[in-house]
Symmetry: C2
Subunit: 142 residues, 2 copies
DNA sequence: CGAAATTAGATTGTGCACAATTAATAAAGA
DNA sequence: TCTTTATTAATTGTGCACAATCTAATTTCG
């Protein structure tokens, strides 16, 4: 029965910490008028410049039910464009606009700022990220 | 600029893994007709039998905007009761019903089952939980 | 005591998340 | 070829999450 105590649950600190970390990003992202999931999309678009909805979904582990309305909101605020591919009309390609690309400048300091708010060393952070990434990857196929 | 690559983000694997872990619980919780946040509430009620909304919120790091409608749904499905305290009428006390308490029997195997689906050792799990809990605790004051 | 500050919960509005379904298109195979 | 199967997005509906605001009740303190 011990396993059914909240304090003995594996998953709860993961769930709570994830939300608190998002909350930590919030004041920084508010300056860019981005939510955390939108920030993740912009990270991808700053790096790749052209991705399909499907590709974004694969990277972020999100489906079209989440992405379609989110990308539409981001299109409305002028961060990106959505165009159905002519080669394969099932595909919708996402590009950052100029405004979207320029937003990267404002985002440069964010990771550093977040890190400074955490009472954790760089090496601890790195190993934690590695463990979580490995665990995430192990769930890939299911 | 490297810090702005998705793969170099600390927070992303936390965010993605948290959602995937919730997804892992889903088929198990479906048998009990619970969502993951509802399961967390039931864990608390199995242990304590009488908690205020405030206390549940403190434990789970959730506010009344999330809890009030969730607890109302759980009241409707007969898992718990909501009664305003007579001593302090600002307080709403939550009790599990008999049905709610009996649901614990069905939940007993869940932690074990989840663990068996993870390719991770008991000690790794324990240390990971410890790290995440410590990090969560360090964010407590903000 | 009595006004001001604090606290607990409810409400409203926005934005994810995701299951389930649908529609359109493309690819594969008999 | 033509039918079946798979793929990609969009849509619909439900349930969190949380900011902001509101109401009512309780504490605090001059």
């Amino acid at each position: 029965m011990d396993q059914l105590y909240l304090q003995n649950q594996l998953c709860f600190p993961l769930y709570a910490l994830s939300r608190q970390m998002t909350a930590l990003y919030k004041p920084h992202l508010k300056k860019l008028e981005l939510t955390y999931p939108q920030y993740l999309v912009m990270l991808l678009l700053w790096e790749h410049k052209n991705l399909s909805v499907k590709q974004i979904g694969c990277e972020l582990w999100l489906d079209s039910g989440t992405l379609t309305p989110m990308l539409k909101r981001m299109e409305e605020t002028g961060l990106l464009t959505r165009h159905r591919s002519t080669e394969d009309e099932r595909v919708v390609n996402i590009h950052p606009t100029k405004e979207g690309r320029l937003l990267q400048k404002k985002a440069i300091g964010i990771p550093e700022n977040i890190f400074s708010e955490l009472s954790i060393s760089h090496s601890e952070l790195k190993s934690l990220k590695k463990e979580l990434s490995a665990m995430l990857k192990s769930l890939e196929k299911k």
